[in-house]
């Protein structure tokens, strides 16, 4: 096991990793930018090293400063957390070349699955369903019709040079496809100077369901079940839960097994998440792999009873997984609300500033992962998440009730937060019934 680990991150995840290290008897070196010098977790470290001025690009993203810190801190390994350099294969390589373990996958596995196209090819190889689509650009109407027949309606016509929804058209049948194709091509040409389009099966009201996996260096791969992260705004997750509501057991099993197959095929090690979208018929399609620990990992920890960060560290240090797939038996329901320093009434504008007062909820089945306390100044340089409120109960109904109770107890004064917004979501009939999709927040809550 390692003697010393450097935590190349900040905020709540830096504290999370620090806690795991302390319990394992591993010394911690925490790096911090000048903006984070007064953060409470910095004082808890065995050694704290300032790596630069506030901006991420000058500090948390500055590889040479982090590696230097690792050298003068005399560490055995680096935990990259999430974001920042956690999926940077070059940083991963540099660590390796300096004889410092990177707590995560190898650079090769990271690159293989980090590239969306390569990951998609890997998925096909592993017989993991991907969103059916044309394999390249559509040349003419005849090809469009043939392709659409093969992938199944409704189809989405997408501009290859596109973005912002431009050049996208949905066609429910062949007649509509003929009309839509020319429109989409013209729109794309006008907007991007490139009329090239391709087809994909259109997934109506998709749900985001992801599978946590963990693999050691001995070929053992386990899934730790799924998380449903359909409550999103502009592709940013707001609420995550496990199990995924209304997902049939057969679909859950196939989804999780598909994730394991993909990870085995890619030779991936350590923790990772395989993301899927699930349609209204409970068919799932691979989207991408996140080759790191994720923000919402506590949801999985609660339903499986497994400390994911400790397991990451153990695996990286060369130990085999301390459990088999059969030993992972899910229990209860867990839910997480990301508490952000944002004002939902002003389009979720970030609200940095001083937290004057904070009262944190507690009780049976409640976990609040945060690095903030009264007097803490939320800096304007980084993401706005200040804490994760996690509840774990016997079933989903109780979990929702508990979360609402906690959101009412949680008091943060001095800055705006998304607490009231979460209360609205948790109280909404659609959420309670478990029928939300990834566009639901924007469609049902924000446009009305």
């Amino acid at each position: 096991m390692y003697n010393r680990i450097l935590i190349a991150n900040r905020g709540e995840i830096a504290l999370r990793v620090q806690r795991a290290c302390r319990e394992l008897g591993i010394e911690t070196v925490v790096v911090y930018s000048e903006a984070d010098k007064d953060a409470p977790y910095v004082r808890l470290a065995d050694q704290a090293i300032c790596i630069g001025p506030p901006r991420s690009i000058d500090s948390y993203l500055k590889i040479e400063n982090i590696i230097s810190a690792a050298e003068i801190g005399n560490v055995d390994a680096i935990h990259p957390g999430y974001g920042f350099l956690s999926e940077n294969s070059h940083f991963n390589e540099v660590c390796r070349s300096c004889n410092i373990d990177f707590i995560g996958p190898t650079p090769e596995a990271m690159e293989k699955l980090g590239d969306k196209n390569q990951a998609r090819q890997m998925a096909k190889l592993a017989k993991v369903p991907v969103v059916p689509g044309s394999d390249g650009l559509i040349e003419n109407e005849e090809e469009a019709i043939q392709t659409a027949r093969a992938i199944g309606y409704p189809v989405l016509i997408k501009a290859t040079a596109g973005g912002g929804g431009k050049g996208m058209r949905v066609a429910a049948n062949e007649l509509a496809l003929k009309a839509a194709l020319e429109q989409a091509q013209n729109e794309a040409k006008a907007a991007f100077g490139n009329g090239g389009v391709y087809l994909e099966r259109y997934i109506e009201k998709p749900r985001h369901v992801e599978v946590q996996i963990i693999a050691d260096h001995f070929g053992n791969v386990c899934h730790l079940l799924e998380r449903d992260c359909s409550v999103q705004r502009r592709h940013q997750k707001l609420i995550e839960e496990s199990p995924s509501p209304r997902l049939p057991e057969s679909a859950r099993r196939e989804l999780c097994e598909a994730a394991v197959r993909l990870v085995k095929t890619a030779g991936y090690t350590n923790a990772g998440t395989v993301e899927f979208i699930v349609d209204q018929e409970n068919r799932f399609y691979f989207i991408e792999v996140n080759a790191r620990i994720q923000v919402e990992h506590p949801v999985t920890e609660m339903v499986t009873g497994i400390d994911l960060i400790k397991t990451q560290i153990a695996v990286a240090s060369g130990k085999p997984l301390p459990f088999t797939q059969e030993e992972i038996v899910p229990r209860g329901a867990a839910m997480e609300c990301r508490i952000n320093a944002e004002d939902p009434n002003k389009n979720f504008q970030p609200c940095p500033g001083k937290i004057e007062r904070i009262f944190v909820p507690g009780g049976y089945g409640v976990r609040f992962d945060t690095h903030v306390s009264a007097g803490y100044v939320v800096p304007p340089y980084y993401d706005s998440m200040i804490g994760k409120l996690i509840v774990f109960k016997e079933n989903r109904e109780e979990a929702i009730s508990c979360m609402l109770r906690c959101l009412a107890e949680l008091q943060i004064q001095g800055i705006s937060t998304t607490v009231d917004f979460h209360k609205k979501v948790l109280s909404h009939g659609d959420f309670v019934q478990g029928i939300v999709d990834t566009k639901w927040v924007e469609r049902e809550l924000l446009s009305k």
Partner: protein
């Protein structure tokens, strides 16, 4: 940058690590040098003393760890004491005193090689292009220019000392 104590295999000595005498002498030292907080570590032992009523610990170390930490069995070497508060009161630096701070993380070298003299000495005049030290980072030796004109009044770090971003290295009197 706070340093950890030496953890290279020394055994703890079995003594009453919370002896009143030891704590009393630490408190006297703090008063003498007007320190607000002292955090000492030696191997797996640690003691942290805060002085003054304004100090409100935001997050104390977890109590489960506390029994492992104690006062060091002998006064620790100066390098292992991390002073969080200001140094002993001295004449305040005037506006003509500039502190050169480390622009990077690495190991500080005050001389170009072990056999040479230091790049600069106290009392020496320097100009903005003068190399005042080397900071080694990832096996690359970076020559650090002064970027200021004046006379060296104080060298704040030792040779081969690890430095982090912003660590004060030299005090320069720009009138000199």
């Amino acid at each position: 940058m706070t340093d950890s104590g030496d953890n290279q295999g020394r055994e703890e000595q079995s003594e009453d690590v919370f002896s009143v005498e030891r704590i009393r002498s630490l408190v006297e030292l703090m008063k003498e040098h007007d320190l607000k907080e002292v955090d000492l570590r030696h191997f797996r032992q640690r003691i942290r003393i805060c002085r003054g009523t304004n100090e409100v610990p935001v997050m104390a170390p977890p109590t489960m760890i506390a029994p492992q930490y104690a006062a060091p069995s002998a006064p620790p070497p100066a390098a292992q004491v991390s002073q969080v508060a200001a140094p002993p009161p001295a004449a305040a630096d005037g506006p003509h005193i500039v502190t050169i701070k480390s622009p990077m993380v690495g190991t500080l070298y005050l001389r170009p090689n072990p056999k040479s003299d230091s790049f600069v000495k106290v009392g020496q005049s320097i100009n903005p292009e003068s190399t005042i030290c080397i900071i080694e980072a990832m096996k690359v030796f970076n020559e650090i220019p002064a970027e200021v004109r004046g006379k060296v009044v104080e060298i704040l770090c030792g040779n081969e000392e690890p430095v982090d971003f912003g660590k004060p290295l030299f005090k320069i009197d720009t009138r000199g």
